[in-house]
């Protein structure tokens, strides 16, 4: 039996696959003791932990500690002359016309930032030897301030980590129980502010993450779990508990990553390797592109970043996705110029959309979907509660007054604007990177994915929409499709000229040897390990790089030429030009995988039931530009593989609503996924 639990902002989802098929359960999330909710959802699903072969877990404990500022009191040890780097940051002010701007405060105040005498140059040569004895007084000062975690960041440690390692060892010796993070272990890339920030935020969450993982492990073991849990990472892979504890910041975006990876895995199973994945949640929508069954990974991730806030960088590998403030709870509002907008403010789950009747005073995307008949009021909130129509009407009043339009027109406008925002995000990951959406299928999941997907596909001109089985807990299912994965990146700038091959091959091999060692120590099985190589490349002089997959074979001059050619082609596709300048390799990137024996999605049984037996009734649904239609309602749980449905139609269960507009045709495949053809064939 394989079980995944995904702790989200509102619900903790569980997906279980065994020989009997697939089961899903939802339970409330229980901050700040998230492990309680995990145990509760296991109990609710009536699963005996002793029967579980693999237990995969995704958690928001890290992002939650960061956003709520509930991490540990953290100190910093850094190169003499540079303690203010963390506070200076990059000096940018994205809120261009705001001259009363506020810069985000550093996570470590100046009095907890200590300098130590040492200096490397950019080639990793020691310019100033390390004064290791200074560590003693620094530790004494940090202890006196009751610090719980220490980050260490020395200049150019990504080239030569000797000084960081020595400082780390000495701190550990003097203070065995403090959390310590050395920057090069969580970020092998250059740029001192970003690496310092990554180390500091890693240290900040380390005690909480460590405590949480220990508590979860202990509770599960006490209930009979024989193995160790596997922990979902932002890079689309899972980690051992040991691996997650060493690099806790790698869990920062685990939920979205597993959805994307699940989409990639499902795509491979059903023969759709090229997908645009879209996850619509309560507050945001996230989209990523999957090419040939693989998602892309990036390290340019930031928290609390938006158009007015520079945020905080975390250089950890994260699935390359675009996230926008548009979800079911996004609020519709009117600006000074009389224009309506939707999001990024969200009503969240408290007070929630106006329809919840919990004091929400704003119209949200969910309310608009209700008004237009797209959400079945009888199945609202899992069928547990009637929408509060009075509250919805009250919330519409200010919009009606400001815009001078009817409730229905405004509701159509809300959906239109929300869809346009999402289409822009979908274009960012496809068209703008040189990919033609007509060559991809749109796979949509999350609470709102099924409802909006067809309209979005229409605009994007993707020929097909796929709504996966159990789409509302798809991220949890995705965790069961992930292998063990750990990424290693290292900045080392090399010009790709003739004769460079040996040097580059040696650098990869050295990295791989060390990576294997780390992964073994963290409990990855040696016999299942395999390694993939990537190179972040650019034209000499450029700053930003393009990630190029690198064949895992001994690099010789011919292979290097192939690599350079691949770079030119990728640059051309993404940016419309190529140059005859020198090409540089900036970051070496290797990925260590250990494959897990994953259970494929089991086929659904077919009873031979007629489609008419799944039909519950007919209701009026507003399809926006396609008009208002009498629409067949089907019970999604009664649909069987092979059944064909013609739009207009709504397929629904208490967790998802699939809206199929007029003229579109859908069918269910052997595994329960719904495929919607956008064009008559």
């Amino acid at each position: 039996m394989r079980v995944a639990t995904d702790v989200g902002g509102t619900f903790t989802d569980l997906v279980c696959i065994d020989d009997d098929g697939i089961r899903i359960t939802k339970s409330d999330t229980t901050p700040p003791n998230f492990e309680k909710g995990v145990i509760r959802v296991l109990e609710k699903a009536d699963i005996d932990p002793a029967r579980i072969d693999d237990f995969v877990h995704g958690t928001t404990v890290v992002i939650n500690a960061l956003l709520s500022r509930r991490g540990a009191k953290t100190g910093l040890i850094t190169t003499r002359g540079f303690r203010d780097v963390l506070e200076i940051a990059r000096g940018n002010r994205p809120d261009l016309f705001n001259f009363a701007f506020k810069k985000p405060a550093p996570f470590v105040p100046r009095y907890l930032r200590h300098e130590i005498t040492e200096r490397m140059d950019y080639l990793g040569r020691v310019v100033e030897p390390l004064a290791l004895d200074e560590v003693d007084s620094i530790v004494a000062a940090l202890k006196a301030e009751e610090v719980e975690a220490v980050a260490i960041c020395c200049l150019h440690a990504y080239v030569n980590p000797e000084h960081e390692l020595a400082i780390e060892a000495r701190v550990r010796e003097l203070w065995p129980d403090v959390s310590i993070i050395a920057s090069h272990k969580v970020c092998g890339e250059w740029r001192e502010y970003e690496r310092t920030s990554t180390a500091v935020l890693s240290a900040y969450v380390h005690p909480i993450a460590k405590g949480y993982l220990a508590s979860l492990d202990e509770k599960l073991t006490a209930r009979g779990l024989s193995g160790k849990p596997l922990i979902m990472r932002s890079n689309g892979g899972v980690a051992t508990v040991e691996g997650a504890r060493n690099d806790p910041i790698s869990m920062v975006e685990s939920g979205p990553a597993s959805g994307v990876l699940g989409a990639a895995a499902l795509g491979v199973q059903i023969g759709e390797p090229n997908l645009i994945a879209l996850d619509i949640g309560g507050t945001t929508a996230k989209t990523a592109l999957i090419e040939n069954g693989a998602a892309k990974i990036t390290t340019s991730y930031k928290i609390e970043w938006d158009r007015t806030n520079p945020g905080y960088p975390i250089r950890t590998p994260v699935v390359d996705l675009v996230e926008i403030g548009n979800g079911g709870g996004s609020i519709a509002w009117v600006d000074k110029g009389g224009r309506m907008h939707v999001g990024p403010q969200s009503a969240g789950s408290q007070p929630g959309p106006a329809a919840y009747g919990r004091g929400g005073e704003h119209i949200t995307t969910t309310d608009a979907n209700l008004v237009l008949g797209r959400i079945n009021p009888k199945l609202f909130l899992g069928g547990e509660q009637e929408p509060d129509w009075d509250s919805i009407d009250r919330a519409f009043e200010p919009l009606i007054e400001a815009l001078g339009e009817t409730k229905e027109d405004i509701a159509r406008g809300v959906i239109g604007i929300a869809n346009a925002n999402m289409v822009n995000a979908l274009k960012l990951v496809s068209l703008n990177r040189g990919y033609d959406p007509r060559e991809f299928a749109l796979i949509a999941f999350g609470g709102g994915g099924a409802m909006h997907a067809v309209a979005l596909a229409e605009e994007l001109m993707t020929p097909k929409v796929i709504i996966p089985v159990n789409s509302s807990v798809f991220s949890a299912w995705g965790m069961l499709m992930c292998d063990l994965r750990r990424d290693f990146l290292k900045t080392e700038v090399k010009t790709l000229n003739a004769g460079a091959a040996d040097d580059i091959e040696a650098a990869y091999e050295a990295m791989e040897a060390q990576a294997r060692e780390t992964c073994l120590a963290e409990g990855m099985p040696a016999d299942a390990m395999r390694i993939e190589r990537f190179a972040d490349m650019r034209y000499a002089g450029q700053e930003h790089t393009v990630k190029v997959p690198t064949p895992h074979k001994r690099l010789d001059d011919a292979a290097l030429q192939e690599l350079t050619k691949a770079f030119h082609a990728l640059h051309m596709r993404e940016y419309t030009f190529q140059l005859d300048s020198d090409v540089e390799l900036v970051n070496f990137h290797i990925v260590v995988f250990a494959d897990i024996d994953k259970k494929q999605l089991p086929p659904l049984p077919v009873t031979g039931r007629a489609l008419s037996e799944a039909q519950k009734g007919v209701r009026k649904v507003d399809f926006g530009a396609d008009g208002v239609h009498d629409t067949n309602e089907y019970d999604l749980s009664l649909i069987e593989p092979g059944m064909k449905i013609a739009g207009p139609a709504v397929l629904e269960d208490p967790t998802a609503t699939i809206v199929i507009s007029p003229g579109k045709r859908a069918h269910m495949d052997d595994y329960g996924n719904i495929h919607i053809q956008m064009r008559a064939s």
Binding site: P94, F97, Y122, Y193, K336, G338, G413, G416, A540, G541
Partner: protein
């Protein structure tokens, strides 16, 4: 000229129009991102000294993407210059134009190169895209093009008077060859040229897909309507502004006095700069376009900082200047350091308005771009590199909060400093220190933000330094009894210990182990220092932001 959502012609529903408008800003965002990812020089990809814009067919700004507020309104006169020079019949699909002469419109100094692309849909002109970026070197008398010693524009680099560099998709190789031959860094220049082209082509693709989806008429209408909306928002915000005339003056470090009078009425924001000094014999001059941008920035900040800016947003502004003055210099005045003249004016306008608008405007900030230009051979590779860097500094305090530490000027925006680890690898020098400058100054009930200390150690012979800072003698102004901040300057410490202090210099020679020490100012304070809460002062002492002695002297807090 004030069609609104409610008064639209029936053919276009307001939601569609709004969706097109949000797509217009997605287009300029995309152009911006492309330029940034592909450019070759750090002045573009980190400092973000570039801007992109989209115009309607009449050349009115509809949407812009920029890391710098000072660039938002700059490109409109550039499009106007091309429309004036070329007959409509000579402007074709696939053309790209270039210009860089500040006196002719659309740019502020020779290093800012503008590229302009007309967009055609079904054979008719539907709009324009433009892109302006600081190119590192276009030749001229001084490396990097910039010097306070320039006396005529001819010394500042190759002039591009609105030329067609790409004709119907075909590059004019002769023109490109001349540009590259004249640059001291041809490889970088070539890369930045193609980055500019890529940026506009990305925008063109998106623009045309918008036309394809919604139709030409709807897109045209959406642009016109968007500009009208910008104007409507600006005019509505003006009703909340205090009315009257607000004045300020400032004595420059050379003894000249500059002054400004801003009159705000219900429907106009008039900036009167008449009576200011004649244009300088040096390069510290601004074009009228650059001066107008100063007015735009301050106007936007006090009316609608949180919304988009386009041609409509700035319609209430009226500007009065004397032709031939430092704020409206005539050809062939040198202008390479226009940005310090512009900054002086920007700070002056800010100072005039701040007392009346304490919620939107802080006390004075360090108010100098602190442009620092260095170059020389890389000690490992021998390759000659150039650094073009503005510096971070301290911002003023406000009624609400302490001033911000280490931020770029108000003229900048989403500009990033260059990481020490990157500059050491790329340029082959060493940074000994990057720290907040704890110099006394800027104390108040709310304290001014801190500037920086940045020490560059030179590691090879035959390097040079050019720089020109302002506010080197008088610090940023305080408000409501807050103290004046500290000052901006550079110290050069030669390997033999000899130390000189500079407000400006041109190409002074540097060698191994010479150190260039940058000091930038603390911003002005707000309110009487004696009113600063004791616990805050204690915190400042604990963090080393203020010494115990100074705390006792200024705040009366004894530890």
């Amino acid at each position: 000229m004030s069609s609104t959502a409610q008064e639209l012609s029936p053919d276009f529903d307001p939601i569609t129009i709004e969706i097109i408008q949000s797509s217009l800003s997605a287009i300029t965002d995309e152009m911006f991102a492309t330029m940034r990812r592909t450019a070759m020089s750090s002045i573009i990809y980190e400092v973000l000294d570039f801007g992109v814009a989209l115009f309607n067919d009449r050349g009115e700004l509809a949407s812009s993407g920029s890391g710098i507020p000072g660039f938002i309104g700059m490109l409109e006169p550039g499009v106007a210059a091309i429309k004036k020079k070329f007959n409509a019949a000579d402007i074709h699909d696939g053309d790209i134009f270039m210009l860089n002469i500040p006196h002719h419109g659309g740019v502020s100094h020779i290093n800012d190169v503008v590229m302009i692309l007309p967009v055609f849909a079904h054979g008719s002109l539907i709009g324009w895209l433009a892109n302006k970026a600081h190119w590192v070197d276009l030749g001229g008398a001084f490396p990097g093009g910039i010097s306070p010693d320039a006396t005529e524009v001819y010394q500042e680099g190759l002039q591009l008077p609105g030329i067609k560099v790409i004709d119907r998709g075909e590059v004019n190789q002769a023109v490109l060859d001349i540009i590259l031959m004249n640059s001291r860094v041809p490889e970088t220049t070539k890369g930045d040229f193609w980055a500019g082209v890529a940026s506009m082509r990305a925008g063109q693709k998106r623009f045309l897909s918008l036309v394809e989806k919604y139709g030409e008429a709807a897109v045209r209408h959406a642009m016109t309507d968007y500009i009208a909306l910008g104007e409507k928002i600006a005019r509505a915000a003006m009703t909340d502004l205090p009315k009257g005339t607000f004045e300020a003056e400032e004595t420059l470090e050379d003894g000249r006095v500059i002054k400004a009078a801003i009159t705000i009425t219900d429907d106009a924001f008039t900036v009167d700069l008449r009576g200011n000094p004649d244009q300088s014999k040096t390069s510290l001059n601004s074009s009228r376009d650059a001066t107008f941008v100063d007015c735009q920035m301050i106007f936007k900040a006090i009316t609608s900082p949180e919304t988009f800016g386009n041609a409509g947003s700035f319609r209430p502004i009226e500007l009065l200047t004397d032709e031939g003055s430092i704020f409206d210099a005539k050809y062939p005045a040198a202008m390479s350091i226009y940005y310090e003249t512009s900054m002086l004016l920007f700070d002056l306008l800010w100072k005039a308005l701040a007392p009346a608008m304490p919620n939107r405007l802080t006390a004075g900030h360090y108010a100098s771009i602190c442009g620092t230009f260095m170059g020389g051979p890389h000690p490992e590779t021998g390759h000659v590199h150039g650094i073009v860097e503005p510096q971070l500094g301290g911002w003023g305090a406000s009624q609400e909060h302490d001033g911000i530490n280490a931020l770029y000027t108000g003229y900048h925006g989403d500009t990033f400093n260059v990481p020490v680890e990157v500059t050491e690898q790329r340029n082959g020098l060493m940074v000994d220190r990057l720290a907040l400058n704890d110099a006394p100054g800027g104390e108040g009930e709310r304290i001014g933000g801190k500037g920086i200390l940045l020490d560059y150690r030179i590691l090879a012979e035959d390097w040079w330094l050019t720089m020109a800072y302002t506010r080197t003698e008088t610090g940023p102004w305080g408000l409501e009894g807050g103290l004046e901040g500290s000052t901006n300057f550079v110290e050069v410490v030669k390997a033999n210990g000899e130390t000189t202090r500079h407000a400006a210099c041109t190409a002074i020679p540097l060698g191994v182990n010479d150190v260039v020490k940058v000091y930038t100012a603390t911003g002005g304070g707000y309110g009487d220092p004696k009113k600063r809460a004791r616990e805050r002062v204690l915190e400042d002492i604990k963090n080393g932001y203020v010494s115990k002695e100074r705390a006792k002297e200024i705040y009366g807090v004894d530890v």
